[in-house]
């Protein structure tokens, strides 16, 4: 396949446009699996997430994860978009779109990519509450930290 499309930006993305872009590349695509990660409102307590990232490394690390995925599964297209900055409940945070001839590769690639991305891509979330306070930085889940340690044997 062509190079994966990797974008790190503040602006929102357009799923329909990304879908056309990925399926327009090749008429032998049978399956496209799309993961959209959204900002939850946490039962009305969350006003916004502020997402900090490491410019340069964010793109580079997503590129390394994409290369790993493309080595494991045969895809006909792969797009990864991660937003940063202030994001409100209901808004998009991340998009992963994997296209393949048969559906298993696209499902497995998208799912693996999200697991891997969460553990290695340099992004951090801070929560702003509807009360006007900051709840502070989201803590990494233990299982995500353990997955990272297995990858990097820290």
């Amino acid at each position: 396949m062509a190079q994966p499309r990797i974008v790190v930006q503040h602006d929102d993305f357009d799923i329909a446009a990304e879908m056309s872009r990925i399926s327009g590349q090749n008429r032998n695509i049978g399956a496209v699996v799309t993961f959209s990660g959204l900002c939850r409102d946490e039962a009305g307590t969350l006003a916004a997430l502020e997402i900090e990232h490491y410019p340069g490394m964010a793109e580079a690390e997503i590129g390394r994860v994409a290369a790993e995925v493309l080595g494991r599964w045969t895809l006909t297209g792969l797009t990864i978009i991660h937003r940063f900055g202030l994001i409100k409940p209901g808004e998009n945070i991340v998009l992963v779109m994997a296209a393949s001839v048969h559906r298993e590769a696209a499902f497995n690639a998208a799912s693996f990519l999200m697991d891997y991305l969460k553990n290695t891509a340099p992004f951090w979330k801070k929560e702003h509450l509807t009360t006007g306070e900051e709840r502070g930085w989201v803590e990494a889940k233990t299982k995500d930290q353990e997955a990272f340690k297995r990858l990097h044997s820290l």
Partner: protein, 84 residues
């Protein structure tokens, strides 16, 4: 001279996003660097208190704490990632 960059609560506790410092040749590994930084003041000691949760990247690639820092032009310190 080496550029150090900090993110999320490491950045907030240290009180700056980046700085350029001269590193003593005795500082060989990432672990040595962390130990050295903790001696630079209370804010560094607070930021790096739980040293083993601190993630480190050299020239924008994750490295382990026993990695050598030789050749590093940019060393980043940050908490576990919470993107996705």
């Amino acid at each position: 001279m080496t550029k150090l960059v900090y993110f999320a609560w490491v950045r907030e506790r240290i009180g700056k996003g980046e700085e350029v410092i001269e590193l003593d040749p005795a500082i060989v590994t990432v672990g040595d660097l962390l130990a050295h930084l903790k001696t630079r003041g209370e804010e560094y000691a607070a930021a790096l208190e739980y040293e083993n949760v601190i993630r480190v990247a050299i020239n924008q690639e994750h490295v382990e704490h026993d990695a050598p820092i030789k050749g590093a032009t940019e060393i980043a310190l940050f908490p576990p990632m919470t993107g996705g």
